[in-house]
Structure formats: structure tokens, C-alpha cells
Amino acid sequence: MTGATAYAGIVTRLSALTVDALALAAVVPLVGTGVPALWSAATGDTPGWLRAGAQLVAAFVPPVYFALCWWGTGQTLGGLLFGTAVRRPDGARLSALRAVARAFAGLAAAPVWLAGMAVTLWDPRRRALHDRLLGTVVQRRL
């Protein structure tokens, strides 16, 4: 930690990530199968294009969710709960491009993302590997 700004550590960040994962685990299946199921209940059959489209949309829900949250307020649902926010090192909000890159990078290489969290244990600003690569920090608001 440097100065008056507090940064979130590994426990807080993984806890917030768990909350987000649980929320997405509830929402993604709902999007992927809910709409086709409703269509099937109404017409008796589900067209293939609808099933494929719903699954495609469901696949994009997590990156869109993370990107929008980090771009808008810097806080996902887990971040709100644990009082963390993703910011630039100078405290500014993330640009849309950086937020999208962070979201897709995290989801495309989730094991690397999680392994890179270990870097927070000795980084002065508790930055993970992806934070160093993408120029972000995770601030904590107690």
C-alpha cells in the first residue's frame, strides 16, 4: 500500500470474484436456456437458431458484465459487496477499451488470471499479474 490509498488483497479480491462467479452461474444458464425454454413452452418446439443465439448471448454475458462494470463504476457485484473498485494507478476510471481487454483477458485465460493473483502477495500496491499488464489497480474502500 502506498500513501492514503488502500488496495485490496488476495482474499478480498478472490472473495469478490467468487460472488461474481456465483451471480454469473445463476444468470448465464438462465439466459442460455431460459429463452429457448420459454419459446418451447409457447410453441412446442425450439428453433435451432434461437438455441444457438441464446447460447451465444449467454457466452458473452460474463465479459460484457465485467467490462460494463469496470468501465462504468469500476465495481462489479462482488466489488460492491467487498468495497473494491478497479481503477487506473492514478485513481481514474478505466477506459472502455481497457475494461473490455481486462474482461476478455481474464475470462480467456482464467487459470493464468488466478495464478497471477499470487503476485498481489508481494506487490507494493497489491497488483496482480493482469493488473501489471493492463495498468490497473484494485482499490479498497473500507
Binding site: G9, S15, F82, G83, L121, R126, R140, R141, L142
Partner: protein, 191 residues
């Protein structure tokens, strides 16, 4: 004696009227002076009398006011003493009543009230309270904006407290994990 000059003598009859006239004149002037002096003296006496009368009136007014003030003070003091005495008497009477009468009556009536009267009243009233009173009270409470605001505020306060506690616990866990890692790394470096 023929040559003896004769002296002309004024006849007594002519000198006397002059003296009388002078005397009368003096007397008249004296009387006028006396009248004027008497008038002046009378005016002074009247002024003194009026002044004395005014002073007397003022003295009487002051005396009256002082007397009235003393009477009022005495009356107020008497009223206070009377009120104090009445209050003390009432307190004493109330204490005696409580000790001697009310407590005994309550002790004697308590078993009857608890065992008989109150259960009967409760049994008779409760159905009416359940069906008619409680729903109205609940409806009033739920419709009251102040109660709603209070409940919402308490809920927000509980959520905020829970969130704050969660954040504090996670921050402590961060510190502990990092301390453990630092200790392990130092130990390994020391080996």
C-alpha cells in the same frame, strides 16, 4: 405795658384739626398698610395651608400605599403558609392511605383479579382485538410513511453494518495471508 408786642397766637381751634387730620391721615395710611399686610399675610397663610394640605395628601397616599403593600405581602405569605400546610397534610394523608388502605385493598384483590377477573376480560376481549383491532393497527403501521422510512432506514443500517463487517474481516484476512507469506519467504531465505 402798651408797648409790649403782641404775639400772634394761632387759635387752638385751628391747630387741633391739623393734628387730627394728620392723625387721621396716618391712621388711614396705617389702616391701608395694615389691610395690605393683612391681605398679604392671609395669602401667605392660604398658600401655606394649601401646601400643608398637599403634603398631607401625599403623606396619606404614601401611607395608604405602604399599608396596602404590607397587607398584600402578609396575605401572600399567609397563602403560602396555608398552601404548604395543606400540601403537607395531603401528602401525609396520601401516604397513610397508601400504607393503610390501598396496599391492603390491592393485596386482597390481587388473587381475584389475577385468577378470575382478568382472564375473563381477556377471553372476552381477545377475539374482538384479533379480528377488529390488530388488523387496523397493522394497516395503520404499514401505511404510515414514518414507519416505512424507519424500517427502511434500519434495514439499510443493518446492510451497511454487515457490509462494513465483511470488508473489515476480508481486509484483516488480506493482512494475515500476506504476513504469513512474508514470514514463509523470510524463513526460506534464512535457510
Amino acid at each position: 405795658m402798651t408797648g409790649t408786642p403782641r404775639t400772634t397766637r394761632t387759635p387752638r381751634t385751628t391747630r387741633t384739626p391739623r393734628a387730627v387730620a394728620a392723625a387721621v391721615g396716618f391712621a388711614a395710611q396705617g389702616s391701608e398698610v395694615a389691610v395690605e399686610l393683612a391681605g398679604e399675610a392671609a395669602r401667605l397663610a392660604a398658600a401655606q395651608a394649601r401646601s400643608a394640605a398637599d403634603r398631607g395628601d401625599r403623606v396619606l397616599d404614601q401611607l395608604w400605599a405602604y399599608s396596602a403593600e404590607r397587607v398584600n405581602a402578609a396575605r401572600a405569605q399567609a397563602a403560602r403558609k396555608f398552601a404548604t400546610a395543606v400540601s403537607a397534610a395531603l401528602d401525609a394523608a396520601a401516604g397513610w392511605t397508601e400504607q393503610a388502605v390501598a396496599r391492603r385493598v390491592a393485596q386482597d384483590m390481587a388473587p381475584y383479579l389475577i385468577d378470575t377477573l382478568v382472564p375473563q376480560v381477556v377471553d372476552g376481549v381477545m377475539p374482538h382485538i384479533r379480528t377488529a383491532v390488530v388488523p387496523v393497527i397493522i394497516e395503520d403501521l404499514t401505511a404510515d410513511e414514518r414507519v416505512r422510512a424507519m424500517v427502511a432506514q434500519q434495514s439499510r443500517g443493518m446492510l451497511a453494518a454487515a457490509g462494513g463487517e465483511l470488508r473489515r474481516v476480508s481486509a484483516d484476512a488480506d493482512e494475515r495471508v500476506e504476513s504469513a507469506v512474508r514470514r514463509a519467504l523470510h524463513r526460506r531465505n534464512g535457510d
